[in-house]
């Protein structure tokens, strides 16, 4: 109990004094996960729209597959990306292993299914009467697509926030392809909130772990707050 209280006090001190390590790790986490979220968004929205509006064979099956992939375990994604970008893997020549780029790729792959799936759900959630209304108002195919997307924008935004939340809170892939490196330069380091918490706890640095945990929790809560605000529209 004493350890927890002491840890908390020290953790608060680390946060309010803007401890450079805590700040750097938090900033890196946000940058990496946001980059992954942007990439995944750029892929998931067109992909989700194509699948939703498309009329091709195996469409139902594809949607089922995507929904199954929601549960993609992070370490499996980590392992997959590791095998692909490791020196002896097919993309080894890019020398991406143990770089932030590798983490961005892993997180993008990780959240792509859920963001695509949620985009499809968001589009399906649009009132059918509005769909008829658009057609009856004489929308061209493109005008129809644009307006349906516009109507689903808050739900799509929620999908983006959920993707970001999943990206920033995952540890399995980050540690496998990032390596939890603390280098002298910010850009070469791959230590993020989750991997740092894992390491600091195993090394017995409880206050640091708690401080990083609080930051991660605040980010996660912030994201959730954003989601609820958006969904209350």
């Amino acid at each position: 109990m004493y350890e927890i209280i002491e840890g908390f006090v020290e953790a608060i001190r680390l946060i309010v004094t803007l401890d450079p390590d805590v700040i750097a790790i938090s900033a890196r986490s946000v940058i990496i996960s946001l980059t992954a979220t942007v990439l995944a968004t750029l892929l998931a929205i067109p992909l989700g729209a194509t699948i939703y509006f498309g009329t091709f064979r195996g469409r139902k099956g594809l949607i089922n597959l995507i929904q199954t992939l929601y549960a993609l375990p992070t370490v499996v994604v980590g392992l997959l990306i590791f095998l692909l970008i490791s020196r002896v893997g097919p993309f080894g020549f890019l020398r991406l292993l143990f770089t932030p780029t590798a983490m961005v790729i892993a997180q993008t792959v990780l959240i792509l299914p859920i963001m695509t799936g949620l985009t499809i759900s968001a589009l399906s959630g649009v009132d059918p009467v509005l769909r008829d209304t658009l057609r009856s108002l004489g929308a061209t195919r493109l005008q129809f697509l644009v307006n349906i997307m516009k109507e689903a924008r808050f739900a799509i935004l929620a999908a983006v926030a959920i993707g970001f939340g999943r990206a920033i809170s995952e540890v399995g892939a980050a540690i496998l392809v990032g390596g939890n490196i603390m280098a002298s330069s910010f850009a070469s380091s791959t230590r993020v909130l989750t991997t740092a918490i894992s390491l600091e706890t195993s090394m017995g640095n409880i206050p640091e772990s708690i401080a990083l945990g609080i930051v991660l929790l605040m980010i996660a809560l912030g994201v959730n707050l954003a989601i609820t605000t958006v969904q209350h529209r």
Partner: protein, 310 residues
């Protein structure tokens, strides 16, 4: 009002996305393009957890205008990374597997830079009564007591194919036991942590169990532990740390120049002095011994501790 809040939230999110879109691309390092040379090292956890590497890497980075990226993983994983060509240098402590690794052509230019001893640590009450025994006898005793019914004797193993794990297996073997048949899975007394040295010590401490640790990590963590050294003598407890390059003939784009610099740096007089004095202030005794002048004592060739890599 609610509408305005929503707008603010949306605006912030968009802004963040934009910022990230920009910084994201600039922050992604392209290893080849940065002017500083990058050196990737996979290290055994003991060198990392004791913060020895944190002490000496800044010196290297300044001297050689390089950036050192360290993946702390345990000897087994480090060897795996080396074999896949994912790092430039290995820092490990498992002579037998290093020999195989070099023999297979993956590693070159091994130099021994430090050594210390393994210790068997356990709760002060020492329920198995191993204090002062030879390591082999101590292991046999722990096993016997552990397998007896209603016993509170537990042994926590690294269980991660690290150098320490290798050493532990070697001790079981020297004690006349078959590791996989007689030890692993022989009962609840034997538990595999699957973690680094620091984490394994923390786990042994939680369970008030015995474990095998390198003295360096044990001393670095001692302050947070209720575990004491019970066995620290015996030839088999010798622990030798080496650094080696990944063979550039196997992986032509490993950073062999800086890798060579690093290996030479580790056996340089300055660093050897750093190693010999590291931790003395804090723990009252060194965590590692410099290998430079003790090559006979630890049974390696002089060339391995003294001759710079060319």
């Amino acid at each position: 009002m609610q509408r305005r809040t929503l707008f603010a939230v949306a605006a912030v999110m968009v802004a963040l996305l934009l910022i990230c879109g920009c910084t994201g691309t600039t922050s992604d390092p392209t290893p080849i393009a940065t002017e500083k040379q990058q050196l990737r090292i996979a290290t055994t956890t003991s060198l990392y957890d004791t913060k020895l590497l944190a002490q000496i890497t800044p010196i290297f980075e300044e001297q050689y205008n390089a950036e050192v990226l360290i993946v702390s993983a345990g000897t087994g994983k480090a060897l795996e990374y080396g074999q896949r060509g994912d790092v430039d240098v290995l820092m490990v402590h498992d002579r037998a597997r290093e020999d195989t690794f070099i023999g297979d052509g993956y590693g070159v230019n091994r130099r021994v830079f430090a050594y210390n001893y393994f210790v068997i640590v356990g709760p002060e009450s020492d329920p198995a009564g191993i204090k002062g025994m030879q390591p082999e006898a101590a292991f046999v005793t722990i096993r016997e007591k552990g397998m007896a019914s209603e016993s509170d004797v537990i042994f926590v193993s690294r269980g991660d194919n690290s150098g320490t794990h290798s050493k532990e297996k070697a001790i079981w073997k020297a004690a006349g036991l078959n590791y996989s048949a007689d030890v692993q899975g022989s009962g609840d007394w034997y538990q595999e942590a699957g973690k680094g040295m620091g984490a394994t010590l923390a786990m042994a401490n939680e369970k008030q169990a015995y474990t095998l640790s390198d003295i360096g990590t044990y001393l670095a963590y001692k302050g947070d532990l209720d575990l004491v050294t019970l066995v620290d003598e015996g030839d088999i407890l010798l622990n030798i740390y080496s650094a080696m390059q990944i063979n550039p003939e196997k992986y032509p784009d490993v950073n062999s120049t800086v890798a060579k610099d690093w290996v030479n740096f580790m056996i340089s007089d300055d660093v050897q002095k750093e190693i010999a004095s590291f931790g003395v202030d804090q723990y009252g005794q060194p965590l590692f011994y410099a290998a430079q002048n003790d090559w006979e004592k630890i049974g390696v060739t002089q060339a391995e501790v003294k001759d710079p890599v060319l």
